[in-house]
Amino acid sequence: MTLSIPTILAIIGMAIVTYATRIGGLFFADKLQFKGKAKAKAAFDEIPAAVLVSVIAPVVLTTGPAETIAALITILAARRLPLIAIVIVGVIAVVVLRLFMS
C-alpha cells in the first residue's frame, strides 16, 4: 500500500463512516422505549449474540471440516472454561485438525 491521494481518501472515508456508526447509536437509543413491548426488548437484548455469530459463521460453517470441528470443540470448552482458556483450546484444536485434514 503506497501513500497516494486515493489511499488517504479511502482511509479518511473509512475513519468517518466508522466513527459515525460508533456514536450513531447514542442518538437513536434515547428514542427507544420498551415498556410493554416484551418482544422488541427480547430482540434488542439478543443483538450482541446475533452480531457475534454473524461475524464468525462463514469461518465456522463454510471454510472446511477442520474449522467446523474446532468450533464445536471450542463451544464445548466455552461451557465451563474462562475466556482465555477457551481461545487457547480453540487455537490448539484448529492447528491439530488442520494437520490431519488439509
Partner: protein, 184 residues
C-alpha cells in the same frame, strides 16, 4: 489506518478489496456495511453510559469494538458500567491495536502464513467464548441459529461484507418472532 479507523473486521475487508487504482467508494461502502453493527452496539450501550459526560462518551465510543463492547455488556450484568472501566479498557484496546498492527506490518514478511499458528482462529474462538457469556436460554439459541444460517448463506451467495448485516438482522427477527408477547 489502524490509528484512525481502529476496526479490525472492516480493515481486513478493506485490504481484501484494495487494489490499483484504489477503489475508494467500494472500500468506504464495505467499511460502512461491516461496521453497521456498531450502531446496534452503541445503541445498546447508550442507556448504560447515561451517567458519562459527553466528552467521555465521544472518546470512549471512538474505540468501541466487538471486544470492549462485549466485555462492557458482561460487566453491566454484575455492576453498573463506570467511565473509568470503559475508558481504560478503550485506551488499552486502542494502544494494543495500533502497536501490534504496526509491528505486524513490519514483521509480517518474516512470519509466513498466520494460519500455520492457528492465529486466524483465535478471533473465532474468542467470539464463541463471548457468545457463551451472553447465553440466556431459548431466545439466545434462536438468535444464534438464525444468524449462523443466514450469515453463512449470505456469505456464500453475496459474499463479504453482507453476511454480517444479513445474519444480524435474521437473528433479531427470529428472536422477535419467537419471543413471548408479555412478561420477561
Amino acid at each position: 489506518m489502524s490509528a484512525t479507523v481502529c476496526a479490525g473486521a472492516a480493515q481486513f475487508a478493506a485490504i481484501e478489496i484494495w487494489g490499483q487504482p484504489v477503489p475508494v467508494v467500494a472500500i468506504v461502502l464495505s467499511t460502512l456495511l461491516v461496521n453497521l453493527r456498531n450502531l446496534l452496539m452503541s445503541a445498546s450501550l447508550a442507556p448504560k453510559t447515561a451517567a458519562f459526560t459527553t466528552l467521555q462518551r465521544l472518546l470512549g465510543f471512538y474505540v468501541l469494538s466487538d471486544e470492549n463492547w462485549a466485555l462492557s455488556e458482561r460487566r453491566v450484568r454484575a455492576k453498573p458500567l463506570t467511565s473509568a472501566y470503559f475508558l481504560t479498557m478503550g485506551g488499552v484496546l486502542y494502544t494494543n491495536w495500533v502497536f501490534w498492527t504496526t509491528l505486524g506490518a513490519f514483521a509480517g514478511a518474516f512470519l509466513g502464513d498466520p494460519r500455520r499458528l492457528g492465529a486466524d482462529f483465535a478471533f473465532t474462538a474468542l467470539f464463541i467464548g463471548l457468545i457463551a457469556g451472553f447465553w440466556r436460554g431459548r431466545s439466545t439459541a434462536s438468535a444464534v441459529a438464525a444468524s449462523a444460517i443466514a450469515s453463512a448463506i449470505a456469505f456464500v451467495t453475496l459474499g463479504a461484507p453482507w453476511h454480517v448485516l444479513i445474519g444480524t438482522l435474521a437473528g433479531i427477527a427470529a428472536v422477535y418472532a419467537t419471543a413471548p408477547e408479555e412478561a420477561a
